[in-house]
């Protein structure tokens, strides 16, 4: 059996853990952390597929590197928004950001 299945199973499980956390928790910083978990799961899938399936001389690893870079940018901007919001509302709980609620 192709070991790639095992690695992809790990990626699926980690992705779903992250998805659950991103949906269920209210702290915005924790939601960002769970997004990072999901991105890591995608990276595992990419690197494993590149390793065991191949056919693209290293593009899998490079894509993982690009995703890591973009994740860093995403965290920076996301946390800056959280901090700016915290300054106005004194909270990081997502259900308190309800100005647009009718």
């Amino acid at each position: 059996m192709n070991p790639l299945y095992w690695w992809l199973t790990l990626a699926v499980l980690l992705f779903c853990i992250g998805a659950y956390g991103a949906l269920a928790r209210r702290n915005v910083i924790l939601v960002i952390m769970c997004l990072e978990l999901m991105l890591n799961a995608v990276n595992i899938a990419l690197v494993a597929a590149a390793q065991f399936r191949g056919g693209s001389e290293g593009a899998g690893s490079l894509f993982a590197l690009f995703i890591i870079t973009l994740a860093a940018a995403e965290v920076t901007v996301g946390l800056a928004i959280v901090i700016a919001n915290y300054r106005n509302k004194r909270t990081v709980q997502a259900d308190r950001f309800d100005e647009l609620k009718g």
Binding site: R26, V77, I83
Partner: protein, 170 residues
């Protein structure tokens, strides 16, 4: 072994580490515990890359995730952490909807995984090594590389503008 080595026991250890720490991120009530668990999860993912013979990705993972992103997140937690213990509850109203949704996503992905024909392990381990990877990065993928650096610059400027304290009276 073609397609790279696969050590079942090492895989089990790494997978258990990653999943346990990942669950820790979700279930801990104190967000600082979640953050520490997240750091260990990132470390476990770095081990997973090393196990997959992707040294460069493993090193970058440790540098960027375990080093930089974790620090930034912990800084943000310390800047904002506060009272309101009641809001950190694990089982709240959203969990009722989130849990079935996450399980459904897992089921769909597993179904895709089972029915997909991944095929056999490739003839040789397509693991180009750091030298070939960097050659690839600066030759064939040089445009995405420059684009990513532009994105990083934009993110840096954006973060400074967003998080800057407004000048008094201006």
């Amino acid at each position: 072994m073609p397609g790279g080595d696969f050590h079942p026991w090492l895989f089990v250890i790494v997978a258990a580490w990653v999943l346990v720490c990942g669950l820790g991120v979700v279930v801990f009530k104190k967000i600082m515990y979640s953050a520490v668990s997240m750091v260990f999860c990132f470390l476990g993912v770095a081990f997973a890359y090393a196990l997959l013979n992707a040294e460069l990705v493993a090193i970058v993972q440790i540098l960027v995730y375990v080093g930089a992103i974790s620090i930034v997140i912990i800084f943000a937690i310390m800047l904002t952490e506060m009272q309101e213990g009641g809001y950190a509850l694990f089982f709240n109203r959203q969990a009722v909807f989130a849990a079935p949704l996450a399980v459904a996503v897992a089921a769909v992905l597993t179904a895709v995984l089972v029915t997909a024909d991944i095929g056999d392990v490739g003839e040789k381990a397509l693991n180009p090594g750091v030298k070939a990877l960097s050659r690839l990065l600066f030759d064939r993928y040089v445009f995405p590389f420059e684009l990513v650096s532009l994105v990083l610059l934009a993110a840096m400027i954006g973060a400074i503008v967003l998080a800057r304290r407004e000048e008094e009276g201006s």
